[in-house]
Amino acid sequence: MGRVTRQTQSQRSSQREGRLLQAERLPDHADRLFRAAYALCDTSHDAEDLVQETYARVLRRPRFIRRDGDLAYLLRALRNTWIAMRRAKAARAQTVELGEEVDWIADPEADPGATALEVSVAYAAMRELSDPLRETIVAVDVVGLSYREAARALRIREGTVMSRLFRARERVAAALEGGAS
């Protein structure tokens, strides 16, 4: 099961006091956010648009963060932007067919046995999930938020995070069993 990241005392105290989101540090989170966007969107083009639009919205004015970490704040912004863009896209009702190719990368601590096929199966399985399940697994497993941060970012209870995460992982695990074993 997933782990809840333990926060240090200093982190908690700085979160209570609040601080300004540092614009110059935003590109550091690009990888996590792009992965999250790719899990939410249908194509890498949409994912790129989503990340860029999210950054544009966040950078429009100074952001004061009280409780969240940068990543949790950005995930909430990404989710809001995704919902807005999806509504706009649905209104346009357009179909685009382009060759879809992405490169898969692994962090140094990645399971050496994990293959590109497995990762692509996992992302495809995530796209098949309902929105609530998909958002939860993206927040915890893809972005790396704790249950508490994910609950705040998604505006749901921690218990709901855990139950949704369980169901989401269950389905992705089943897809991995069937698709990449």
Binding site: L26, D111, A173
Partner: protein
């Protein structure tokens, strides 16, 4: 495999592996982050600012109404649906990827050899705002598209379009009835590729073809 092991595998896989962030996106985000964030203005100045904006908006509207707007992308795409009024330009013998036709510093590509789209004619139009446009028509089987180049500064981008970056070229694409429209810039001019095609990706592919650098953007 037990549920816990399966869940652990999913967690490990998703938290350590994923799609690589495209380099172009990374660069765009870095450039965005470098721009200064606007500072919040004191609230006491809000009423004055609103009044100033209102006056400026009225002035701007008056000016725009008086001078007339530049053409929109949709207007620039219209000639591609009309009939040709001049013969088709031939291939440039010295530069086979290009036609012997250019407008406002933009040379038209020859897609016949590479993609089987042959030229069928051209036309010249006057658009709003004193702009002119030159369109070259191409045909493949029963599909016909127009490649329009608009004189002057780049036109305002359509807000409802979808953005693509292919082969380093930024494009905006949208649907106008049955026709697909793709717009991009070459040499500081707005280019519009429009027509009825099976797939929009055809227009994207044609627009972004650079012929190993022979077609200058």
């Amino acid at each position: 495999m037990s549920a816990d092991t399966g869940h652990e595998r999913v967690h490990r896989l998703l938290s350590t592996t994923g799609p690589a962030t495209p380099l172009a996106l990374r660069e765009r985000l870095a450039a965005q982050a470098e721009r200064p964030v606007r500072r919040a203005r004191p609230r006491v100045a809000l009423a004055g600012a609103v009044a100033t904006i209102a006056v400026a908006a009225v002035l701007a509207l008056t000016l725009v109404a008086g001078l007339g707007n530049g053409p929109t992308i949709a207007e620039a795409a219209r000639p591609s649906a009309l009939a040709a009024t001049a013969p088709a330009p031939a291939q440039d013998a010295r530069r086979p990827a290009l036609l012997r036709a250019s407008f406002a510093g933009v040379s038209y590509p020859d897609w016949n050899q590479q993609f089987g789209w042959r030229t069928t004619g051209r036309r010249h139009d006057s658009l709003d705002g004193g702009r002119t446009a030159e369109t070259v028509f191409y045909q493949h089987t029963h599909h016909r598209i127009g490649y329009t180049v608009v004189s002057g500064k780049p036109l305002k981008r359509p807000g409802h379009a979808q953005r693509f970056v292919v082969n380093g070229l930024q494009m905006l694409a949208y649907k106008d009835g049955r026709r697909d429209v793709v717009t991009f810039e070459r040499n500081g001019r707005t280019c519009v590729l429009a027509g009825v095609v099976h797939r929009r990706s055809t227009l994207v592919k044609l627009a972004s073809w650079k012929a190993d650098g022979a077609i200058v953007f």
